[in-house]
């Protein structure tokens, strides 16, 4: 079973704070991490490989420093890391990203399965997985919470729905996006880390994947950011003061009507 896992390097958004003075993002100390959902996709791929054999390629699109997450993927069991990177990709929205990753997949050649995290924590769009499936004309299922069975012809998965789950069968090759419930990712192994350190990360530029200029980066993006802002605080605010007990008294007096 040859598997491609799509991995994104994201800022650890939970560390991001707004500077109350300047109302801008305080970036200091924000680390770049592997998108948490992708970690589960990778773990699932490695488990499938351990069971059925085959290879796992970790594929990422991003700036050169995104190489770090590919090395991390190798330390967690991926065989190879491929980075799609080009200044020309900058400004890509989910459409252009789906297109670019799909071109990279075509360039890599044969595969049986593509696994993606449900969404990336910096954008939360959940669009690139289905977008790639559309580009590659692959059957796909999103939000997979369990891989029930798998053989050379197809797989049976549980797809998380709002009101429960569906059990779905689909043929291979296929694309799945996974949720965190699917598995508990492992800690990178020591031997894996040593392998990752030495590994050669393959870099694919726009020309290497035969990407059309008007389909990548800002030019290939149908959506455009018009403005970015931080929301204004609400009106009518009361800040209590005093000891905890005094503050609770004041609050209770205010809430009496609601309760």
């Amino acid at each position: 079973m040859d598997i491609i896992v799509c991995i994104k390097q994201v800022p650890d958004t939970k560390d991001v704070r707004l500077d109350p003075e300047t109302n801008t993002l305080a970036r200091e100390g924000v680390e770049s991490i592997m998108n948490p959902f992708d970690r589960h996709a990778l773990e699932e791929a490695v488990r499938i490989k351990e069971e059925l054999g085959g290879t796992v390629i970790a594929l990422s699109m991003g700036p050169p420093q995104a190489e770090a997450v590919l090395r991390e993927a190798i330390s967690c069991g991926a065989d190879e890391g491929v980075l799609v990177s080009d200044r020309a990709f900058a400004g890509a929205d989910t459409w252009a990203t789906s297109y670019t990753l799909a071109r990279a997949v075509v360039t890599l050649g044969n595969f049986d399965l593509i696994l993606c995290g449900k969404q990336a924590i910096d954008g939360d769009t959940a669009q690139v997985g289905p977008g790639m499936a559309s580009q590659l004309k692959l059957p796909y299922v999103t939000c997979v919470q369990k891989l029930r069975t798998m053989d050379e012809t197809g797989l049976v998965v549980e797809r998380m729905m709002d009101d429960g789950y569906d059990v779905v069968r689909l043929p291979l090759p296929a694309l799945l996006t996974v949720v965190k419930d699917i598995n508990e990712p492992r800690v990178p192994s020591l031997k894996g880390k040593m392998r990752a350190k030495k590994a050669e990360i393959r870099i694919l530029h726009a020309a290497d994947i035969g990407a059309e200029e008007q389909c990548i980066g800002l030019a290939g993006s149908p959506t455009k950011v018009v403005s970015v802002f931080t929301p204004k605080p609400r009106g009518n605010r009361t800040v209590f003061s005093g000891t905890p007990a005094e503050q609770v008294e004041q609050l209770f007096a205010q809430l009496r009507d609601i309760l």
Binding site: V16, V30, P36, D124, R169, R237, F252
Partner: protein, 397 residues
């Protein structure tokens, strides 16, 4: 490319501070852009001397915008009912349609959906496209995607809205991709720009720490998903008149490579936080699972339920159905008590429409206090039990 006009740049560093990606540094009194730049435009906006601009090729496969007209809402139908988010979208869509002076249509797929059409009209639809086929009883990504795509190609609506539900988030991106259309996920605000009729889509960005307004200047339809409970439905008017359009789809479109073997309805979580009038929510400040015990006592006393921020859910202290925010649920209770929640936008977008917000936090600078009607600065481990007791005492009387 992000271009720095070296003549105009004064090296003030505002762009550096505004860049969420660490892509700009000021060197020798002038801004320098590195590879991390995503062309998000935050710096351009905040550059007073106007020294920054984004340049690049524009999408060449532009469509003729005038050929596209009308607002569409995808009405999700599952297990015999229309998802409530469809009515909310019709409420939002109605305003957009009126602003544009065009009609509002609902699209509904399923097996035995025709009866639902009247309901959609009552909630504001002028037309309802109905695709009724036993093959559509189960949700399958490829079938839903292809039918939607073919309807859009035939009818050319300028805007397509869908609920950001499991189903909507799963097949709408496929449709947008196939149509070369722009899609904005999880919008919290939708508006028409009066000058050119463009749909302005606002959503939290960068992990929900800032808001971004997005447009689709050259592509059609303009597509957006909206999370349940974000928009308000109009009061239904059963006397409203509308047109029901039955669409026969060719058999080929119904053929799928995906087969649903079984649909399992899970026992719903005992409480649905979206339906509660009072919520007591906890975040990272609770420190561990046991912190939620305190909140549960308070919630029980108030007749409410417990909710949580993403930080608390990610830490495994409470299961996901309790999560409020951009990646959880949107709630609008009468009273929302946020305990040990910092109040990043990610969380704020899920609860800011609550009627009364009480915030309890140790950090006086926590952004949650900007949202709170009543703010208590202090240790939640002291304050929450005091509040619980206070309410208990009062009840005794």
């Amino acid at each position: 490319m992000l271009i720095v006009d070296k003549e105009k740049c004064i090296g003030c560093g505002v762009c550096e501070a505004n860049c969420a990606f660490g892509a700009i540094t000021v060197e020798d009194g002038c801004a320098v852009v590195n590879d991390r730049c995503t062309l998000c435009g935050a710096c351009v906006e905040n550059c007073e001397p106007q020294a920054l601009r984004i340049e690049g090729a524009e999408k060449s496969n532009k469509v003729n915008l005038d050929e596209w007209s009308g607002i569409w809402v995808f009405a999700e139908f599952r297990h015999g009912v229309i998802a409530p988010v469809a009515f909310e979208l019709l409420g939002a869509g109605r305003k957009l349609a009126d602003a544009r002076g065009v009609s509002l249509a609902a699209v509904v797929f399923g097996d035995g959906v025709e009866a639902a059409a009247a309901e959609l009209i009552a909630y504001g639809a002028d037309q309802v496209y109905v695709v009724d086929d036993p093959e559509l009883a189960q949700y399958r990504e490829d079938v839903y995607g292809r039918i939607m795509e073919s309807l859009i190609r035939d009818q050319r609506p300028e805007v397509v809205l869908a609920g950001a539900t499991a189903i909507g988030r799963s097949f709408i991106p496929q449709v947008a991709n196939a149509l070369n259309a722009g899609l904005t996920a999880d919008c919290t605000h939708l508006a028409i720009r009066p000058e050119d009729g463009m749909l302005l889509q606002t959503r939290p960005a960068f992990g929900g720490n800032i808001m971004a307004t997005i447009e689709c200047p050259h592509s059609r339809p303009q597509m957006a998903t909206v999370r349940p409970k974000v928009m308000a439905p109009m009061p239904p008017d059963p006397s409203r008149q509308g047109e029901v359009i039955r669409v026969e789809v060719p058999e080929g479109l119904l053929r799928s490579r995906v087969e649903v073997l079984e649909s399992v309805l899970s026992k719903q979580d005992k409480v649905n936080i979206q339906e509660m009038e009072i919520l007591v929510a906890g975040g990272r400040g609770l420190e561990n699972e046991k912190g939620f015990e305190l909140l549960r006592e308070l919630a029980d006393e108030l007749g409410g339920a417990v909710a949580a921020s993403r930080a608390a859910v990610d830490s495994g202290w409470i299961p996901y159905p309790h999560q409020v925010g951009q990646t959880g649920k949107t709630v609008c209770p009468k009273l929302y008590i946020a305990c040990g929640i910092s109040g990043a936008i990610q969380h704020a977008v899920g609860m800011q429409s609550a009627e009364t917000i009480v915030a309890i936090n140790r950090d006086p600078n926590a952004p949650i206090f900007d949202l709170a009607t009543y703010s208590l600065v202090g240790d939640l481990f002291e304050i929450v039990p005091l509040l619980t007791n206070k309410i208990k005492e009062n009840r005794g009387r």
